[in-house]
Subunit: 183 residues, 2 copies
DNA sequence: ATCTCTATATATCAGTTCGCTATATTCTGA
DNA sequence: TCAGAATATAGCGAACTGATATATAGAGAT
C-alpha cells in the first residue's frame, strides 16, 4: 500500500482536491499514517494518467483554483483489490525510544524532561482521539479507539516505569562527575 | 535523527560491521526503528569520511571479509550532541488500520481474518519482548517493556472492539448481496 | 498602520530510505 | 543432492519527507 492507494481511499469517502485530501488524512488517519504534499500531488497525477481518478478544475474567487478529483469505476475496483490483499507490517520510528536506550549518555534532567513531555503529548492525543470517537462511523471509532487505547497504555507505562531510565541517567552522571573530580 | 546517528548509537555499545549493526538493530531496536542495508552501508561510508567512525578490515576464513567500525572521540561527541536535542515525533504507518477504516468495502470473513492474525502477531510480540526484558540493561528493559505494554493494550482492544468493524463489514455485505439479487 | 502568521492551493526538488538484486561462500535440513 | 538460510558488502530504482517557490487573503499583534 502506498500514497496512491491512500488517496483512492480518501476519495472513496467523497471528491476532494489534493489539499483537501491532506486535511482529511490529518483528521482521520493521523496517528497511523502520514502523507506529505510532495507525495500526494504526484500520486494524483499518476492516478489520473492511469484512469483511476478523474479531475475537474474549479475556479474560486479569492482563492487559488482547485483540481477536484473523483474516483472512477476502475479506481474503486483498484482500491478494493488493494484492500483485499494482506496489509504490510506496521512501521514505527520512534526517536524518543532510541534516546531512552542511551539514557546513560544524557543528563538526568534531560531524560526527565523528555518523559514529562512525552506523557503530556500522549494525554493530549488521548483527548483528541476521544473527541473523534464521538463522531464518525463505527469503523472510524474503531481506529480512533485503537489509537486511544495505545496512548493511554503508553502514558501509564511511562509513569510507572520512568524510574528505570531516570536512575540509569543519574547513576551515569554521578560516575561522570566523580571521573571529572578525579582529573 | 537518521540512520547515521543510529549507527553511532549501536557502535557506542561495541565495535561492529555493517552486517552486525543490522543484527543488533533487530535485537534491540526492532519494534520501534528499522534500517535496511541500503541505508546502513552508505551511512557508515559517510561517517568514516566525516571522521566519526574508524574502520578496520578483518579477514575471515570461510566468510567474506568484514569491515569492523568503531566510534572515534568525535563520533561519541556527535552522538551525545544529537541525543541531547529534542527527538522528532514518532512516525507510524499502519496499513492494517487503513484497511480497518474501509472495512465496509471488504468481505466480513477477510476482516475477521485480518484481526485474528493481528492479535496473534501482537501476542507473539509480547512473548518476544517479555523475553528481552529479562536480559539487557535497565534502559533496554524500559524500551522493551514499553513495546510490550503497547502490544498488550492493542491485543486487548482488538478482542473487545472487533465487533465494531466486523458488524460494519457484515452490514455492507448484506446490502451488496441484496443489490446483487435485485439485478 | 504594518507586519507576521496562518490558511488556501499547487508544484518541484534534494536528500533519505526501502526493497530488491548481484556476488560469493558455507552450513543445515529435507 | 539440492534448496534455503546465514554471513558479508554494495548498488539501484522507486517512494517519501521536508523545504521551498508562488500567489492571495484574513487574523491578530505591536
Amino acid at each position: 500500500m502506498d500514497v496512491r492507494t491512500l488517496c483512492l481511499g480518501v476519495l472513496s469517502l467523497g471528491d476532494a482536491s489534493g489539499y483537501e485530501i491532506k486535511k482529511r488524512l490529518e483528521d482521520v488517519f493521523s496517528h497511523f499514517y502520514d502523507a506529505s504534499f510532495g507525495s500526494i500531488y504526484p500520486a494524483l497525477s499518476r492516478l489520473q494518467t492511469e484512469g483511476l481518478v478523474q479531475c475537474e478544475h474549479e475556479q474560486q474567487a479569492k482563492r487559488p483554483d482547485k483540481k477536484v478529483y473523483s474516483l472512477t469505476t476502475d479506481g474503486r475496483l483498484a482500491l478494493v483489490r488493494e484492500l483485499n490483499g494482506q496489509p504490510g507490517r506496521d512501521r514505527v520510528r520512534s526517536e524518543f525510544l532510541v534516546a531512552m536506550c542511551f539514557a546513560d549518555l544524557l543528563p538526568a534532567a534531560h531524560v526527565a524532561q523528555l518523559i514529562d513531555r512525552r506523557i503530556d503529548e500522549h494525554q493530549r492525543s488521548v483527548t483528541d482521539l476521544a473527541e473523534r470517537e464521538r463522531r464518525g462511523t463505527p469503523a472510524h471509532r474503531f481506529v480512533s479507539g485503537y489509537g486511544r487505547a495505545l496512548y493511554e497504555a503508553a502514558a501509564k507505562y511511562l509513569e510507572e516505569n520512568r524510574y528505570l531510565v531516570e536512575s540509569e541517567a543519574l547513576l551515569a552522571q554521578v560516575d561522570n562527575d566523580r571521573a571529572g573530580a578525579a582529573d
